[in-house]
């Protein structure tokens, strides 16, 4: 530990000594058309190769150089590079607007596009999703989804058929920190997980960290998915939307005051249950099954130095059968942020964040309802310090107050079947402090190093149990309000390195340690709305993961192709699994149902992408293993985790057929999940019981599927005769629109959603194996517009 700190200060030292006369250039980078902040624009100094900086998540950049004249270049993927000659003889301010390649404004000459970013940045194990690619990739029911596009990337695996849940590098579904404008989203899927809660129309940027997680993030072991909502068009009012087979959506955005502030409101609702109205059965006609999402955001620049953002998300799923049964669940998040420039080098962001997830079940027939909730209130401060052209510091801290309401049962009528009963709430504080620095050690070597200190304290009030070896309550103690029950602290080092071999290739390495204090107890293999989040406690220790990764990145043929290979090894402590037949729903002593052990995961990820030309796409392949070891399971030997998948292949192809037609296809293949199949059977109480041997010793059948899609853009111009000149001329249409056609599971593969081992209905003395496949060939069509 001492050594780590020493190295840290040693590395910080160079920028404590500073004699030369220096000046700072700072400002914001925006999109020229809609005024959205551009995240991650690279700012380069032509005269000083290897010197530069990147714009932060709010589009702010700052670069400090010795006195002199320089050519400053602003480059960003998919945008035209701009460059200026600037004289650094005083501190400068420059706000930049970049326009896209596709803007088709021919008077500008395209200088270059920044397409070798993968080589230069220290980002390792980072997956970025280009929001424009999402539009073309075919998906189930034509419902575009960032999460599903992510699943086509190496190291990211789908949780199952059509599912929006995902596993990263062998981590569980609960080990992904999903942030929407900084607010954690506790249940990121709708319905059975067939859709994610993220409406792609409202999303500007998505970044997934699979390894080398920066010090500003913490609390989950496997990954951080940082999603930034659009700020809204600050130039002009715009309405866009889409009509689909099972859902429709509408987005309205525009300036509050032009170039000073903007807003966006985006809503989506599914209407799958419309199909039920055609049913001949009365209660099926009364059934409801839908979800909706509402994303809202507004921002306003009060002064050159201050900007405020207010954003919110609200989504809900609803499932019901008339009065007999009602079930709804959803997330609500709210983020208030204040950007402040303390100086042209020091950028501050203060956030106040609210997040909650809850569900309610009402069973009219039996006269009772169940409600459960998790709620977070967060206060967070992040500072970006653009110290000089070699060092970029980040530091900050956060404190979260968690409330867990595991469940309450209450009667809705006098003769309800249950007493009003509540399982006690649990409360805790989760806090963190971090500091990290991105430092250019040499022109070809960049390192990012940081430390994160985290603390988790479980507090009263409440009756806290302890358990014996068999999971039975052995003792209980009453704690008063705010009284500390147990407290865990940890230091988490984070390190990443990029060594540029030559212009076209680089080697990257990283190490990170993370602690996870919240754990999701799941009732099913595919995730369910009633899965319960549990805090670390006197019984549940924090889960700890150490990950090392190494990668080689290469661009080929003038950056037309991008290739990478990465490998990782992860060690997990205090991993959680269940006792056989565990009850996790509404169980006050659920901690007694848990087992604690260790885990490990390792793998190799290949990625080849073609980025330019009419024909683009990528191939990704992951070879991986994920294992667990528990004293009580499989005689304390290593066994495959549920999400262990040996092979995982995705192939995405996109082809632009002329100006207006885009064709796309995707193919996935993966090894079936590890499951426990019976090894025998026996009869008690006149029914067949399955006999099991080792946990997760069997495999589901391999999964594969191909989808295709086509996007047809309607003509953007209409031709008409100019009355004055008598010539034909092109006039831009007010409404831009496109049609999207897709087919999910083109060749009708019957992939196993579940496999049942059960008695034959006609002859219960015999047993049979039944496979359920959900989606055969699903065609869909949608219409999208913008004006």
């Amino acid at each position: 530990m001492k050594n780590t700190l020493f190295i840290f200060f040693f590395l910080l030292f160079p920028f404590l000594v500073n004699a030369q006369e220096k000046y700072t250039l700072s400002g914001n980078v925006k999109d020229a058309v809609d005024g959205e902040d551009l995240i991650g624009v690279t700012i380069l100094v032509k005269e000083l190769p290897g010197t530069g900086t990147t714009a932060n998540v709010y589009g702010f950049y700052s670069i400090t150089l010795p006195k002199g004249e320089y050519t400053i270049q602003y480059t960003f993927i998919g945008y035209k590079t701009q460059e200026f000659k600037l004289n650094f003889n005083q501190n400068l301010k420059k706000n930049i607007e970049l326009s896209t390649d596709a803007a088709e404004l021919e008077e500008f000459e395209v200088t270059a596009t920044r397409d070798d970013e993968n080589i230069g940045s220290t980002d390792i194990g980072v997956t970025k999703v280009d929001m424009r690619e999402i539009e073309s990739i075919p998906v189930l029911f034509g419902e575009r989804d960032v999460m599903k596009t992510l699943q086509l990337m190496p190291g990211v695996k789908s949780s199952g058929e059509g599912g929006a849940g995902f596993f990263v590098r062998g981590g569980g579904a609960d080990q992904n920190l999903i942030l929407l404008d900084g607010a954690p989203v506790y249940n990121a899927s709708h319905l059975l997980g067939f859709f994610s809660v993220f409406n792609s129309d409202a999303i500007k940027d998505l970044k997934l960290y699979k390894g080398g997680i920066p010090a500003e993030y913490g609390g989950r072991l496997s990954s951080v998915m940082d999603i930034v909502m659009k700020d809204g068009n600050s130039k002009k009012m715009e309405v866009s939307g889409g009509l689909g087979l099972i859902s429709s959506k509408l987005t309205v955005e525009g300036p509050i005051i032009k170039d000073k502030g903007s807003f966006i409101v985006s809503g989506r609702r599914t209407y799958a249950d419309v199909f039920l109205k055609f049913s001949s059965n009365k209660t099926q006609r009364d059934a409801s099954l839908y979800f909706y999402d509402l994303n809202m955001k507004a921002n306003y620049r009060f002064s050159e130095k201050d900007r405020v953002f207010l954003s919110g998300y609200f989504g809900r799923d609803n499932l019901g059968y008339g009065d007999a049964f009602g079930f709804n669940w959803g997330n609500a998040t709210g983020t208030l942020r204040w950007n402040h420039l303390f100086s042209d080098k020091l950028f501050s962001n203060t956030s106040f964040i609210y997040s909650q997830y809850n569900y309610k079940i009402e069973i009219g027939e039996a006269g009772f309802k169940i409600a459960s909730k998790i709620k977070d209130i967060t206060l967070k401060e992040d500072l970006d310090y653009f110290l000089n052209d070699k060092n970029k510091l980040k530091l900050g801290g956060a404190i979260v107050y968690h409330t867990f309401d595991p469940g309450e049962v209450s009667s809705t009528e006098e003769d309800g079947v249950f007493n009003n009963t509540k399982i006690e709430n649990r409360y805790s504080f989760e806090s963190a402090l971090y500091i990290s620095n991105e430092q250019k050690l040499a022109s070809l070597l960049t390192v990012t190093y940081g430390l994160r200190y985290s603390n988790f304290t479980q507090i009263g009030p409440g009756e806290i149990y302890t358990y014996d070896q068999d999971g039975k309550v052995s003792d209980s103690t009453d704690y008063k309000s705010w009284e500390s029950v147990v407290s865990y602290s940890a230091i988490e080092p984070r390190f990443a390195l990029n060594y540029i071999l030559n212009e076209l290739s680089s080697i990257k390495a990283s190490y990170s340690r993370s602690n996870q204090y919240l754990h999701l107890l799941s009732n099913s293999s595919s995730g369910s709305p009633i899965d319960a989040w549990m805090p670390s406690s006197n019984n549940i220790k924090p889960e700890v993961a150490d990950q090392v990764s190494l990668g080689y990145f290469k661009n080929l043929k003038n950056n037309t192709y991008e290739f990478s290979v990465e490998t990782y090894y992860k060690i997990l402590q205090n991993a959680i699994d269940y006792r056989t037949g565990a009850e996790v729903t509404l169980n006050a002593t659920v901690e007694g149902e848990l087992l604690y052990g260790e885990g490990r995961a390792y793998g190799l990820e290949f990625f080849l992408k073609k980025k330019k030309g009419d024909f683009t796409g990528w191939l990704s392949y992951t070879l991986a293993r994920t294992e667990k070891k528990f004293e009580e399971v499989n005689k304390n030997t290593w066994y495959p985790a549920k999400q262990d998948r040996t092979h995982d292949v995705s192939l995405v192809l996109m082809y632009a057929l002329g100006e207006r037609i885009k064709l796309s296809s995707s193919f996935v293949f993966y090894t079936g999940s590890a499951v426990t199949f019976p090894t025998g059977k026996y009869v008690v109480d006149n029914q067949t019981i399955n006999l099991y041997s080792d946990r997760n010793a069997s495999r589901m059948p391999n999964y594969h599927r191909m989808d295709i899609g086509m996007t047809l853009e309607n003509k953007k111009f209409k031709e008409q005769i100019n009355a004055e000149t008598g010539e034909m001329e092109k006039i831009k249409k007010k409404v831009e629109s496109s049609w999207n056609f897709s087919v999910y599971n083109l060749y009708g593969r019957e992939n196993a959603y579940s496999i049942d081992f059960r008695e034959n209905e006609d002859d219960p003395t015999k047993t049979e194996i039944i496979q359920l496949s959900l989606f055969k060939i699903i065609p869909s069509i949608s219409y999208n517009f913008r004006f």
Partner: protein, 270 residues
């Protein structure tokens, strides 16, 4: 509580059900290569608080794909003792079926099972708790949406009872249709019904008009409660495995229960 596990399962079934209705999905019979476990002994042993109402059934496990009849185990030595020194030697009334006509369970006594079979000794113990009587049975029509045939109404049977106040109680409900035990393991505790007059539906069984249904309402001990809740959820797939049981011995599965029994019958009518 088991009720909520059923709700979880129900929700999932509902969701899948609706998707199945709306979109194309299919169920088909498949064949899989399954590993075969070695053979275990199976014990199903019950003592009721009624004279001569007891049985011990001994059989063997089979590979999953073996659809031959269950192999019963004859010529075992089977004894049941209680904690005040009575010993009952059970006789084999049919192959693998053992019982005693003089044994009657008494509340608050602990019962011990001792089986000697094929050189192996199997033991178990279970406590008999005081009986809680069924108040009444009732019938309720199920939601039309779940009827298999839209013209044939389906019904559930509900068992009404009053939980014994000021004690922790565990219950098991068995349903019999025309004398034959229905599928399902319904066991629950009184965590949410302490001291209450309430009712519980026999979840897994669907009945039709004219069915003659018998319900056994059993007061059981905690070990049995844990065994049956685990059995039911492990069969449903959260953590498949062999539940922890009170049966001790090498390579043995099954259970031993000392149950206080209350029984009522009903004919299903509209």
């Amino acid at each position: 509580m088991i009720y909520f596990n059923h709700i979880a399962t129900l929700i999932k079934t509902l969701l899948i059900g609706l998707f199945v209705l709306i979109f194309i999905s299919c169920e088909k019979k498949i064949d899989l290569d399954l590993e075969e476990s070695r053979t275990f002994h199976v014990v199903e042993a019950v003592v009721h608080d009624h004279l001569g109402d007891n049985y011990v059934i001994l059989s063997r496990t089979r590979p999953f794909k073996n659809n031959q009849p269950v192999e019963m185990i004859s010529n075992a030595s089977v004894q049941i003792k209680d904690d005040i020194g009575n010993t009952y030697v059970l006789y084999e009334s049919a192959p693998g079926y053992y019982s005693d006509t003089t044994l009657q369970g008494v509340a608050n006594r602990t019962y011990y099972l001792i089986v000697n079979v094929e050189g192996k000794t199997i033991t178990a113990e279970s406590e008999m708790n005081p009986r809680v009587a069924i108040d009444s049975l009732s019938v309720e029509e199920n939601l039309e949406a779940f009827w298999e045939n839209p013209n044939v109404p389906e019904y559930s049977v509900l068992c009404h009872f009053t939980d014994q106040a000021n004690s922790v109680n565990f219950y098991r409900v068995k349903a019999f249709l025309e004398g034959k035990q229905e599928k399902g393991f319904l066991a629950f505790n009184d965590e949410f019904i302490e001291g209450k007059s309430t009712r519980i539906p026999v979840f897994e069984s669907i009945f039709y008009q004219g069915d003659s249904v018998t319900i056994q309402f059993l007061t059981i001990d905690e070990v049995n409660y844990r065994y049956f809740t685990a059995l039911s959820s492990s069969q449903e797939g959260l953590v498949p495995g062999n539940p922890i049981t009170n049966i001790q011995g090498k390579d043995v599965v099954g259970y031993f229960g000392a149950y206080a029994k209350s029984e009522k019958s009903i004919i299903v009518t509209e």
